[in-house]
Symmetry: D2
Subunit: 297 residues, 4 copies
């Protein structure tokens, strides 16, 4: 049997996304470098016994969730890749976080081959992927965005059409650069307050009602003990990893170079996360940058 949906990349994010499509009634064949991930999806109702090549040839939709611009280029542009195998009319959705330039180029080439392609990176992390509450930031034509709706709504709660090809990646890059900056700024403010004898809970409460308010302060406060459920209160385990934030800040700085933008705080944040990662903290939650700023927790 040929699946309607091919899902390539079944990691922390891709697996629960594919699983939600199955639960939503779609026939899905999953592919991953790790056979164990593939087997897990089959155990949850994924289609088995079809080769990647064969599946892509017959699918209505191909979705990818991969770790880097290079891996996405390989899967779409490589010999025997998606662009070679898929029929005109196939809908292509790349939910990886990659360079806006690469996304723009892939969207263009897809169009030349008669296919709609979406760059559709997400926010919400593994928790949102499992719950089906991801936010999708989409770069696509109007048609492409409309065609993808049935699929995206099984995986996410908020779907934003940001603009033409590449726009989804651009929004992701802009948002996450700002997030990285806000996290460090918030950590600095909390450290400074504590060094002056303030209670960080009181400081958080007052700032959250003032002009310094931001998402980080209330959703993943980096000071241990302020929010019971935040990674900061659990030795910075779980959450959004330092190395993922570093990757996104790298995409932002790279993009700023190619578009000739000034990003003084974004570049500063990238280097701080790079040093923090090199000190051995790459797997901790990105709020652990709080530790780099001071002694003790």
């Amino acid at each position: 049997m040929n699946p309607e949906v091919v899902f390539i990349g079944l990691g922390n994010m891709g697996f629960p996304m594919a699983h939600n499509l199955i639960k939503g009634g779609f026939s899905v064949a999953g592919f991953d470098l790790l056979q164990s991930n593939v087997d897990r999806l089959i155990a949850e109702g994924g289609i088995q016994g079809v080769s990647l090549e064969q599946a892509v040839k017959s699918a209505k939709v191909v979705i990818t969730m991969l770790p880097s611009s290079q891996s996405v280029k390989n899967v779409y542009l490589g010999e025997g890749g998606v662009f070679e195998q898929a029929r005109p009319g196939t809908l292509l959705i790349d939910s990886s976080t990659i360079s806006p330039e690469v996304a723009k180029e892939l969207g263009k080439q897809a169009g030349e081959r008669g296919m709609e392609m979406l760059d559709a990176p997400v926010s919400g992390g593994p928790v949102g992927a499992t719950a089906g509450t991801l936010t999708f930031m989409v770069g696509a034509t109007e048609n492409g965005f409309a065609s993808a709706n049935a699929y995206l709504q099984k995986m996410g709660k908020a779907l934003y059409h940001a603009g033409p090809h590449g726009s989804g990646q651009t929004v992701k890059v802009c948002n996450n650069m700002l997030l990285g900056i806000t996290m460090i700024g918030t950590a600095e403010a909390l450290r400074l307050g504590i060094a002056n004898g303030l209670d960080p809970k009181v400081l958080t409460e007052i700032i959250s009602k003032s002009s310094g308010n931001n998402w980080v302060l209330n959703a993943c406060n980096p000071c241990p003990g302020v929010m019971e459920k935040a990674p900061a209160s659990n030795d910075y385990a779980g959450g959004f990893g330092v190395d993922l934030m570093l990757k996104d800040l790298g995409l932002a700085v790279e993009n700023a170079l190619s578009t000739q933008c000034s990003v003084p705080l974004g570049a500063n944040a990238r280097n701080l996360y790079d040093m923090h990662s090199k000190a051995g903290n790459g797997k901790l939650d990105y709020g652990s940058i709080y530790q780099m700023l001071g002694k003790g927790s």
Copy 2:
């Protein structure tokens, strides 16, 4: 007639605050270096014909709203100043934004002279001062905070007791450092998005529902045209001036030096605002840092 309240410093902020106290039923004598400001308050019902020395000697409350740590020190500690003239039991409220160290020291000395003193800086700007909707961030004893309630509530809407002497200033400094960082980060994100072809209104809308969300984005978006009423859409006129933000970032960095804190982005922001001011933009709204990051608006 002796006034109940002495109000020293009748500038953009002090005048409407004193006026609101008069409207709230208090007898207020105002003092300022500019006689025209004093006269304006008299025209609104302020007490006249009393010297500063005499007024302070008999007042129940002395409130100050002054431009710098040095001017506050002069008024309280100078020869013939408030500490020399006021009787034990007088309530002292300093709403200036000054160094936490100075606030702590003044609070201590007030206590030694038998007076409660509050460091009670505000946020909300001239608009909030006029509307009586300021936020007060207060450092004081429990008693001091309670005693001040009747007065502060005529001038503001939200009253926060942040902790002991100096804590109000610390919260203000932490909040505004974070605000300065968030403003620049937001401006960078918007510039980057636009350089990639995004519509800044769409970008603002999506980020405001994502993890990059912050107060700046929604209340004083620095990109011209995104918010009709923001200073950015009015040539950066009005709003919170670059030189005021620069002053607050200076207090933050100074405090970080004396408390041995790392504030990499705060220090970066301070230098960017300093260069922006030196290029002749000191009187513009602080969102005008957006212009420093790029060509065209």
Copy 3:
């Protein structure tokens, strides 16, 4: 007549370099997008009447001096480009300042086609190019470096073999990133001294004999009036342009991203130069960053 040397790119740098080769006794055919540059070289003894294709096919050496990684890739890899036309055994020398990654890749491909290629960026500017006193930083095989000696020594005084393909570009990028940082640091130190009442000449003299000593301080001091012949004393005319420094800092940051290096001050410097250029100073000497740091000269 077929030229021994083909020289592609006859701008501010390329023209005097090609001219020095002619004066050194070589037959040189020059090529440039601007015909006037080609004609000027012919007037100085350059070979005329030969097409680029024909010249490359028969030349012993091809030298390029071009403005960007992209233009270098076009010339070597493009359809009908140098790699297609040149015979095995041709010596290829690229003196452009480009990305080390691109240089490495070109060197590899040249080798696969039986040609030695050098990445040989220079320092010394138009003055050094005219005087024949350039410094060459070379990435190449031992053989390649040796073969190029006869040509390079007509154009430069110091020839350094930095390592294999790409190493010349890497040295250039590292040196110029450090130069950009040192320039800003020196400008900050001079500004700070002057703000404290010091005579910048006295400050320069003492630092130049102390641990803060560096090339900038003595060769192109950014404070007007300290060195009579420096661009700073001539309204920052001449010298090494802001936009060229910005390009080199961009190469450094780009390289740091791809090699996963932390360059906090390098990235900071890149953004400062970017903002300085956007304020309209791209054509001034890079020492003009001194103006961004303060009011007045």
Copy 4:
């Protein structure tokens, strides 16, 4: 017997300086919080059996070498301090590294009491102090500078008169801020070169002959193995400590705040050293910032 010279502060720097004065033929009484330091100087010929008060009253010269602005203020301005005890005409030399503002104020007050005072910070470290080869950067009147010559030349090799009171400290602060910046920039350049496969010795050699050349590169190269005798090749032991560099960068940033200067790289450097110190490296040589930038040495 009353000593000609009183020397207060016999630490790593003060002890060898005092010792050199004794070897130079002066009678010196040394004072320190640690009695063992005092005893060591007595063993080397220091005067014993005189109280600090008595010694200051009768001395021709008082020299101080202390760790902070505060400790210097205590010794000169405190109750029973040098200003109270010393006779008019006594020559006062403070070789501590302190805030230029404090030095200016002390110089002024000394003048009002009929004494010449020099702010005379040094460079050269414990090695230079022992060898008598320190560099003195002096703020003083012409007379004061001339009067101190006989003493300074026993302790140092180079004596610079930078300008009026405070100028010595300003030069020190400017030089060391630039030094801190140059060190980090040099470490970044070396890391970047190595990440691209360069030999750091080759890179050092080429840059040292190019525009990136600076004192750090040749005198205390931060990459292990490049210079056999540098602290970097000895696990960053010895040399100029991270916490001392941090103190000097703190003085620079503090001074920039009070003189309203922009020091973007200086402030950046201060925060990097602050984080590096907080990670437990305060006692290592300041070249160890190289380790913060990367994994492995």
